[in-house]
Amino acid sequence: MNNPVPNGAWFTCLPSCETQVPCGTGRHTVRWEAGSLDLPSHPDAEGELVLAALGGDKARCIEVAQAWARHVDDLSVLAIGPRGPADQIAIDWDDVLAAEQADSSVTGPPGPARSTPMRLASQPGPTLARAGARQRQIGEERRKAQRRRNDVLSLLALGYGFQVRLIGQVAAAHAGRDGGEQVRPALVAAITGRLAPVAEEWLGIDPDQVVVSLHAGRSWGSSELTGYGADRRLRVSLPAGWLASVWACGLARVGRHLIVAVQEPGWPTARVLGLRAPGADPEPLVVQGSPGDVPHWEAYE
């Protein structure tokens, strides 16, 4: 039986979460709530951005919010971010600062553009011009790579609660689009990487034996267990939205059930569809969450 799954905000099953970020001389709160990042210590973030554009310092909190906005549909977040609570990412703000300092020692501090061109004994030839253009291109690529990496490190430094919420955001962004073959490989890998450890806990199956395909359609998907021994495979077809509405909300496994869809999202109570065994029809369950970075859920009897 394939129960239709309702549309709805993917984060309805997630409570808000917050963390402290070193900003200026102190530490400020950064909060995630209902799919948005909130900076209570910077009520006029727009104004601060204008000042920063005029040469003032940009607050770390604002840099983090900008990084978040830049990566809400970045598939690399799925490739780098955590696969589950046991997958510990060891990044804190010291690491972020160290990486930024390493960059400035390599590329040097940004300075004003040279106003007077250097005089050359002769006009540069086309070869020299090409070499200069290539050098500038390499420098630009390096700066982009450094900024991207520092963005990701900052977002990871926010902690596990924010990491999974960003993963949910990215998955939800792509679940609503038909990205075709450009995004399917990344989504299949992202679901596999997160479903495999859950399936190991659920069935005791080797994570390498979990095979995921991307499900398209209104139903939740499908599952089956095939083969024996080394040929044993758990084949699961799930939509990209599973990563957001189920996994990121901490619902992937509740008791002895693998949760495959959320029927009635809510916090702290929700109604979900759970599989007791591969190939079985999913059962509706009412679940109750207890607070945490990512909530822990128990099924109502």
């Binding site: 780098i80 600062l97 160290a98 390599v106 990496r149 490190l153």
Partner: protein
């Protein structure tokens, strides 16, 4: 070819590798990659193979590897990372190293061929004799160059400071100009060998119409023992002979009307997938490396002396990740699951005592004849067999076009224990040569030489020189020739066809 499956395979391989708890451990102190965190080798090999066959674009492959490197780095615990032999003064974090500082993360572009050079073949092809490649080394055509003549003459020279010889192996006249391909050697007045260049400025060259030419000496990136002697100005296409007078010697007349007597090359269609072609080339690389590093394959690697074990490491490094490479090619549907090549590779690795390759196919009971010939050579402890003495053979043979490249063999010589075949390539030539694993990705052919005794020798490019839309290079034969046979069989294999040509050799010997 299935590009989506190729990318999916690589990303799933990355997921599997990231589940490996060993990734959270730091590199061994002092190991080559200790300063940086890199993607697992199975992943980089699979990525390289998929890009090499065109199933994955470089940008995507680099992005995947960069994400994996960052994922690995962020999971490496800082308290583990600080355990450095340099001591605790480094501080509690290893940020700059952990995140590679300003180093660009995974880059594969330097391992791949660049955009092909402009095709030079048009001029040569346009002027090729009627019948095209079947009579490529005939006399010059009236409407342009494309002339290859075996020579086999020694030009001696001597004055009060230097003596020596130029061993002319062939004359070639193409769109890029006319030149002799020659081996050379110089000696000082006491007879000791030294490295001064031959006095080409003092050599006079005159054609059958009385026109005089200068000779321009250039090694063009090849081994020191070989050179091109280019004629300036460019001579007419149909000259009959050239008379060469070197200091202290009589004039020597070089007959350019001579034709190579040889059977026509045989072209046959084959049907290798691009994945099989790549695996075959990896196998040839393994076969070539084994004697190069003189590894004693008869004793287990663990018991070999340290320097030999280190050299063997280069061989095992080529084999590392082969299982993932094969699986990646299968996922991309450029290698059939029923292909015999993976089983042959497994048999080759077993024969060379290489472990850790990850190939799941059972070793094949039979191997291609050239592979077997080389393996037999090693296993009979033949690598140290004395090679043929220094010498050169006149040779001029143009092979039919394969994979967009037309090869012209212009000489063969033994020097310092090695055997080299001087070659010209015309056609679609990529500009960058070295690929991963030391594979020359610019050279899309598999080349084998069978000597008169029936032994096979792998022929791989060693140094290229691009000029005027042509590429001059030498093929190094492994193992070297052990005797001066009177003919060789050349087997050139592309993806869709192979060429077999029997080429007579006319040897000249040094005094």
């Amino acid at each position: 070819m299935n590009r989506e499956r190729a990318e999916t395979y690589l990303r799933l391989l990355a997921e599997a590798e990231l589940r490996d708890p060993a990734l959270a451990s730091p590199p061994a102190p002092g190991s080559a990659d200790a300063p940086f965190i890199t993607a697992p080798i199975t992943l980089t090999r699979a990525a390289w193979a998929l890009t090499a066959v065109g199933a994955l674009d470089l940008q995507t492959a680099e992005a995947i590897l960069a994400d994996v490197e960052l994922a690995v780095a962020t999971r490496r615990l800082p308290e583990v990372a600080v355990r450095s032999p340099a001591g605790p003064h480094l501080g509690p974090r290893l940020g700059p190293r952990r995140f590679a500082g300003g180093r660009p993360l995974a880059r594969m572009s330097h391992l791949m061929p660049s955009v092909p050079a402009p095709a030079p073949a048009a001029a040569a092809a346009d002027t090729a004799p009627p019948g095209g490649p079947t009579q490529p080394d005939g006399p010059a055509q009236p409407d342009g160059p494309g002339r290859y003549v075996p020579v086999g003459q020694m030009i001696l020279f001597h004055d009060e400071l230097i003596s020596g010889e130029l061993d002319l192996m062939s004359y070639a006249h193409t769109a890029a100009g006319a030149r002799f391909t020659a081996a050379w050697r110089t000696r000082d007045p006491l007879g000791s060998r030294h490295h001064d260049l031959p006095p080409v400025d003092a050599i006079t060259v005159t054609d059958d119409r009385g026109q005089r030419y200068d000779l321009v000496f250039a090694t063009k990136g090849r081994p020191e023992s070989t050179c091109d002697l280019t004629l300036r100005p460019d001579p007419p296409a149909d000259i009959g002979w050239l008379e060469i007078t070197a200091p202290g010697e009589q004039a020597v007349r070089v007959d350019l009307g001579r034709r190579a007597e040889r059977p026509e090359p045989q072209i046959s269609e084959i049907n290798l997938s691009i994945g099989e072609h790549l695996l075959n080339r990896i196998a040839e690389r393994l076969l070539v490396l084994a004697p190069e590093y003189q590894v004693n394959w008869h004793s287990p690697l663990a018991t070999t002396p340290p320097h030999r074990a280190q050299l063997a490491g280069l061989v095992t490094n080529v084999a590392a990740g082969l299982g993932a490479t094969i699986a990646a090619l299968e996922a991309a549907e450029v290698l059939s699951p029923r292909s015999p090549v993976p089983a042959r590779l497994a048999a080759l690795c077993a024969s060379l005592r290489i472990d850790g390759h990850g190939i799941t196919a059972a070793p094949a009971p039979d191997l291609p004849e050239p592979w077997l010939s080389m393996l037999t050579h090693y296993h009979r402890r033949k690598p140290e067999t004395a090679t043929a003495g220094d010498g050169f053979a006149a040779l001029a043979a143009a092979l039919p076009e394969l994979e967009g490249i037309r090869l012209v063999l212009l000489g063969l010589h033994n020097f310092d224990g090695g055997t080299w075949m001087d070659t010209l390539a015309l056609g679609q030539l990529p500009g960058v040569q070295q690929g991963a694993l030391g594979l020359d990705m610019a050279f899309p052919l598999s080349m084998w030489i069978r000597d008169g005794a029936g032994r096979w020798h792998a022929a791989r490019p060693a140094g290229w020189y691009h000029e005027g839309g042509e590429a001059t290079f030498t093929l190094r034969l492994t193992p070297p020739l052990t005797r001066s046979c009177s003919w060789i069989d050349v087997l050139a294999t592309g993806q869709s066809a192979e060429v077999r040509a029997t080429v007579p050799l006319c040897w000249g010997y040094r005094p």
